[in-house]
Amino acid sequence: MFIFIAVGILTFVVLYSLAAIYAERKVSAFIQDRVGPMETGKYGLLQSFADILKLLQKESIIPAAADKALFILAPAIIFISVFIGFASIPITNGVIGAGINVGVFYVIAVITIEVVGILMLGWASNNKYALMGSVRSVAQIVSYSIPAGVAVISVVMISGSLDLQVISANQGIFSSEKIFLLGFWDVSNIGGFLAWNIFQAPHLLLAFIIYFIASLAECNRAPFDLPEAESELVGGFHVEYGGIRFGIVMLAEYAMMLLVSVIAVILFLGAWNTPFPNIGTFTLANWTTGTFWGIFWLLAKAFFLIFIQMWIRWTLPRFRVDQLMAFGWKVLIPLAFLCLIISGIWKLVIMN
């Protein structure tokens, strides 16, 4: 059973990554008034498959001066660290790979393992650009994990649970406790977007924005793509990689985007709950709730966040290293702690 779920999620993550690479190329193309890939299949739909096929056929070159064991191990660690994060994601009501009751803690911890892989990647390459890229990446991920973590804690305080399935259920019509919109209006039976965490307590909207910005930095996405800054570091930490090892690093990057988006959806945007509320006789929330509806809503919201990530990538220019650090430590962390304090007050004063 577990092998079945694991293989299913692996297949889905790989297929999603290929689709996301295609989507990224199309989104960037349209934003820049181009057409993107058009030759491989109808509208270039098979472009990613052709690319991955090409990467599979390529010779796996290990540089002579590289640390061979680390060089081979690093892409695997990066991909595995992202992939095991999916283990405790509640896919829909009652369906979860590993229903551990410290799910949030587990996922946040596992995401950060990627740092080890990236540092190994840069160190093993024995290349100054690669090492510089991975050092930047480590500095960035370590810095931005703090506001992300604190923002997540402020949600956990409101939800009162570390179990992702409980946090999900508490944002919709399946809630075991009473839910209040903005702390006043009982929306336990109305559900829909009114019951989402960001509307249950308004300061969680700020926490959501903090988490989203920090998650961009954790995925090494623009405007925080310093580790792979093409114009300064050639290709960044994966500059020495080619063939399928590079392909795995690339897939891990896109899988990471999905993982952080799914976590954002679960913690802030109502997880697998429908966005439509019950209005009188029109019980939209009841109509659009179910096992497959749950999967659909979770993925739809996550893909929307991924689209926003792509949109931001092709709009905003890259930060400088000092700006990145200043923004993380002087802006995001104080705001995240502010959210944490408001969460505490909210829990004590309003939710009592």
Binding site: F30, D33, W311, W314
Partner: protein
């Protein structure tokens, strides 16, 4: 400080809205056909600009000055084009004709056989000087601009080529003719 934050957020939102506008304009192509001559050319701000080249092409003028073409029936093999060519891409060899070989379309009498007329388009710089000096206007520039070949030697366009035996025959005929002329003059 507060002004700076508001300014930053505003400028980020403005950038995002601009890119989103372009993203949704990606549904349609910017109609570039007709080029700048079209009256609404400068109103085309939105849509995709890519021309998918071998499948779509921007129309070029009918009188475009791209690749050279020689109408050999009109050529009097005067060699002017080869002489004016700044990059020496035209190679012409000729041999005098002994018999009447006809007239060009504008009535000029042809007196020379073209044993070789080749233009190396790999060398050509498209200056058009050859078309200017041609007395019979037989060398022209066409609107064809995208002929591609698998080997660079194939860019050497051959417009006239006479087999060696025929050249030899023509040479002997010319020698005989000149011999007869000398005899007739009593030299």
């Amino acid at each position: 400080m507060k002004k700076g934050i508001i300014h930053t957020i505003n400028s980020i939102l403005e950038g995002l809205s601009t890119t989103l506008k372009h993203f949704f304009a990606g549904k349609k192509y910017r109609n570039a056909n007709g080029g700048v001559a079209k009256s609404n050319y400068f109103e085309n701000h939105e849509g995709l600009v890519t021309i998918q080249y071998p499948k779509q092409k921007i129309p070029v003028p009918e009188v475009g000055r791209y690749q050279l073409h020689v109408e050999m029936d009109d050529c009097i093999v005067c060699d002017l084009c080869a002489k004016i060519c700044p990059v020496d891409c035209i190679a012409i060899d000729s041999i005098k004709a002994t018999e009447d070989i006809g007239i060009t379309s504008d009535g000029t009498k042809k007196r020379l056989h073209a044993t070789k007329f080749e233009i190396d388009m790999a060398k050509c710089m498209y200056c058009g000087l050859c078309t200017v000096v041609c007395p019979t206007e037989c060398i022209i520039m066409t609107n064809e601009y995208d002929r591609s070949v698998p080997h660079v030697a194939q860019l050497n366009y051959v417009f006239a080529e006479m087999p060696p035996e025929e050249i030899e025959a023509k040479r002997i005929a010319l020698l005989q003719f000149e011999e007869e002329k000398r005899k007739a003059k009593g030299l």
